[in-house]
Symmetry: C2
Subunit: 192 residues, 2 copies
Amino acid sequence: MLEVFKKYITDKVSISEDELNEILSYAILKKLRKRQFLLQEGDVWRYNAFVSSGFLRKFSVDDKGTEHIMSFSPENYWTGDRESLVNETPSKFNIEALENSEILLFKKEDFEMLCRKIHVFNNMVNNILHRSFITSQSRIHSSISLSSEEKYNNFVLKFPSIANRVPQHMIASYIGISPETLSRIRSQANKK
Amino acid sequence: MLEVFKKYITDKVSISEDELNEILSYAILKKLRKRQFLLQEGDVWRYNAFVSSGFLRKFSVDDKGTEHIMSFSPENYWTGDRESLVNETPSKFNIEALENSEILLFKKEDFEMLCRKIHVFNNMVNNILHRSFITSQSRIHSSISLSSEEKYNNFVLKFPSIANRVPQHMIASYIGISPETLSRIRSQANKK
DNA sequence: TAAAATCATTGACATTTATCAATAGTTTTT
DNA sequence: AAAAACTATTGATAAATGTCAATGATTTTA
């Protein structure tokens, strides 16, 4: 739905109707059913992707077949693989719809052109990047300084709506512990 | 040294002499001797800081007194606490000179003004932010998917010059393991 | 509606890691 | 030059976490 994206932008910056429509004119609408992949490991990622509805996850799979979840992307969030996008190298990650989803894709070149051309759009994009960076720093700090139990509590505190939306083992994967350990942490905490 | 910063910028973007001098005119030179602090936990961080010489680390201290190193910043890198800067909240972190260092400080307002005014400077800054984000994503991926040994090998591989410049226990702190464990990992690896 | 898949839990056990303490080598400070 | 501080290592032990397997509940699929 283009309306969702329109609202997303106008909530963040003041922009003319013309500019807004120009941006929208480059959006490629993609519908994904649950379990479908937006990106597969080994492919080069060439877009900026806005989730207008649904829910996605980005994850890698290691030698042992264990999945490691890098991010969850609900509606009104972006997803993609910036490393692959910038370097044009094969991605290490998969992006999969956990629910039926609607995505707006912007080709790299189109997106960059829009950033150059529409100043407020560029500002918005950089602001988002800025906030994403701060968020990722916080995740790093958690990962090196907290116990597993603290990581879990922190996750639920910071992302309650995501915690309610995904199976427990995916939270475990996101914070970097085994599903069994998370299960035990929770049952321990309940006893208190 | 302003020359270092000049070279840093001109290596990255083409910029007029006038614009370059305007940027430089806002730089506040700060010299730090080894062990001196650029930022102390609890203070609000209000700058963008460019390291023109020397070497800094950013770290937190937890309840038990254990330090957790968020970043190392050698010459030609930036440091600071973006979360504190953006939200104007007390920082959780300390920034300390590990060697005698020279820092260029730009007040938040000046830096933002320069970004608005000098287009190529803004582009450069956003590029750096972009790369920093990609780097931090990579660190997150390591933290959730690699074993301690792999984290260490990965660190040395990616940051050989830093690995040679800091005591081993600081690498342990950066990757989120105890110094004893890192020592044992290394001695195990030597046996092979 | 029956079968299959997914999910969370639990037990048993192995492995990894942290903690505490002691030591010795090195570097820094006085 | 001596003292102090820092650093890396090692041993002993405890704690945390992972792995494998089984179970039952729930959800999804056919």
